[in-house]
């Protein structure tokens, strides 16, 4: 059967990657080679409406999917093809006709004329405007300022995606957010790139206000979050309560990622995060800038208790580099992900800087996708843990320390 996928007209560079990941998750062998960033449409062949629904219902960058009966440059083409299709499946089913006109519109009279053109379908069931069994949909693409459509598909609606959740999870509607909170749409896309599914164990080691764990918990994953800064964790569970996902949050703690306290035999299905990159929050780890100054401090007692063991003790931090942090992240992912488990994280760059994604022999790079902003861009990089014994090449990380400097100098260089 032929289906038409209708994409959201946003994040064009991400759409096909999300769809590929979803096809793999669902185990659907589907040819996506007809895709182009330039069009919001993609025609695909699938075995059933059920498969089409499985393919798109978890997407955040697709709008919906339709089954195609006829298509072409004119209604003559559409009718010629439609007449060759079998409509016995309609039986007594109720139905209605919808129009979706892109860059154009139709008057009521025109719509009635077009619908009458389909009389030969001999539909026996009743017309029902509210919740019909079948919503036939005429999808018409107009050219700019043209009266007649350039292209037409005669279809029936199969399924919407999960895109409406972006509004439900809009940051503005959450009880707890902060300056580092990540927009719901791209947090969801990140989770889909990491192939997160129900009951998966997911970790965000730089979780701040929990944007990724909240998105993963929506997908019914089991989530762990940690951050070096306690302030961002204080309202953490409020969002999980708000979205009725308290049971999915299995651990949230103050932790320096480079001194990790999650038990060593805990295997993750996915790791998703937005590491600190030194602009809104500095990169730091536990330790002191000048160790000499701290020599012997572990022996300082307050009320007979070593100062560093008291509840109010403030742990000194020292600066750390993004490069080191990212190689720690890859090392951690390589050691702790299940085979085929995925790491997806974001990396910011100045607009004109080329990406050099860090590599690890045990991790295959699945995709690197840029999202452009005014003067900078951020890349979503996704890795997959290779099967045991399969090793790829490692490339040492090149310095990206310049980002912070460039950010503050307004990207003038």
């Amino acid at each position: 059967m032929k289906f038409l996928i209708l994409f959201a007209q946003a994040h064009e560079k991400f759409r096909i990657h999300e769809l590929e990941a979803l096809a793999e998750v669902e185990g659907l062998d589907v040819d996506l080679s007809g895709y182009s960033d330039d069009y919001p449409y993609l025609e695909v062949e699938l075995a059933s409406e059920h498969d089409a629904k499985r393919l798109v219902s978890r997407s955040f960058l697709i709008r919906s999917v339709y089954r195609v009966f006829g298509q072409g440059w004119s209604y003559d083409d559409v009718h010629a093809q439609t007449k060759g299709e079998n409509f016995e499946f309609m039986g007594e089913k109720s139905f209605r006709f919808d129009f979706m006109c892109f860059q154009g519109s139709r008057t009521k009279d025109q719509q009635v004329d077009i619908i009458n053109g389909f009389r030969y379908l001999n539909l026996a069931g009743p017309v029902r405007m509210k919740k019909p069994d079948v919503a036939f949909t005429l999808i018409e693409q107009f050219g700019l300022l043209e009266k007649e459509p350039k292209y037409i598909w005669f279809t029936s609606f199969v399924s919407d995606s999960d895109r409406h959740q972006i509004d439900v999870y809009n940051l503005k509607k959450r009880p707890f957010i902060g300056t580092t909170s990540f927009d719901a749409e791209m947090a969801f896309v990140t989770c889909n790139m990491a192939k997160i599914q129900k009951n998966d164990v997911v970790y965000d080691p730089f979780s701040g206000t929990g944007s990724f764990p909240v998105a993963a918990a929506y997908l019914e994953a089991i989530v762990f979050g940690s951050d070096i800064d306690i302030r961002s964790l204080k309202g953490y569970d409020k969002n999980f309560k708000f979205y009725n996902r308290e049971k999915n949050l299995w651990g949230v703690s103050v932790m320096d990622f480079t001194h990790n306290a999650l038990r060593k035999d805990l295997v993750f299905d996915a790791i998703v995060c937005d590491p600190p990159y030194g602009v809104r929050e500095i990169i730091k780890v536990c330790g002191s800038k000048n160790p000499e100054k701290f020599a012997g401090k572990e022996n300082v007692l307050i009320d007979n208790v070593p100062a560093h063991l008291r509840p109010e003790y403030i742990h000194p931090k020292r600066p750390y580099s993004l490069d080191l942090l990212l190689s720690d992240l890859l090392e951690f992912a390589a050691a702790r992900l299940k085979v085929k488990g995925r790491l997806s994280f974001w990396m910011p760059l100045a607009s004109d800087d080329p990406l050099s994604a860090p590599t690890h022999a045990k991790l295959r790079i699945v995709s690197s996708i840029p999202q452009a902003f005014n003067k900078w861009q951020r890349w979503l990089i996704t890795y997959e843990k290779r099967p045991e014994g399969e090793l790829g090449e490692t490339k040492s990380v090149e310095s990206k320390q310049a980002f912070r400097a460039k950010y503050f100098s307004g990207f003038k260089e």
Binding site: K247, V254, M255, R263, G287, K297, H308, Y313
Partner: protein, 129 residues
């Protein structure tokens, strides 16, 4: 911090990484609070698979609950009536029992960590980092 979390955290000190004594941590001076969470038997049955049962029994006993069976129970049908009580008990212990304050001690190196306002803190002082 949910009681459940005790099953997933260990000492953060590097030299304890390979020690079998670094997990589970020892829990003391804990203030427990019950928070109501919706019961989902399938979810709890699935959760069982991810648990280190010995550690669970040990920590539960430290916190005054010695009613857990010594072996991990096997649940084939989460909806079956005979499993309901067990799953409800686990739900109440693992998800609803939360530690507001307390101390976690590593049985290998003796370092201690605090739980404050329901959040455990695993940051290390400079001489251990």
């Amino acid at each position: 911090m949910k009681f459940l979390t005790t099953n997933f955290v260990q000492c953060a000190v590097q030299s304890c990484a390979r020690s079998s004594d670094a997990f589970p941590l020892k829990y003391s001076e804990c203030q427990l609070v019950q928070k109501e969470i919706d019961f989902d038997p399938e979810f709890i049955a699935h959760m069982l698979q991810k648990l280190d049962w010995d550690a669970l029994v040990e920590v539960a006993a430290e916190l005054g609950n010695s009613s857990l069976p010594p072996q991990k129970p096997t649940i084939e049908d989460a909806q079956a009536a005979e499993n309901e009580q067990l799953l409800r008990d686990l739900h109440s212990l693992l998800l609803e029992t939360q530690i507001e304050q307390g101390v976690m001690t590593c049985k290998n190196c003796g370092h201690l960590y605090h739980i404050k306002n329901f959040i455990p803190n695993f940051l290390l002082p400079p001489h251990l980092a």
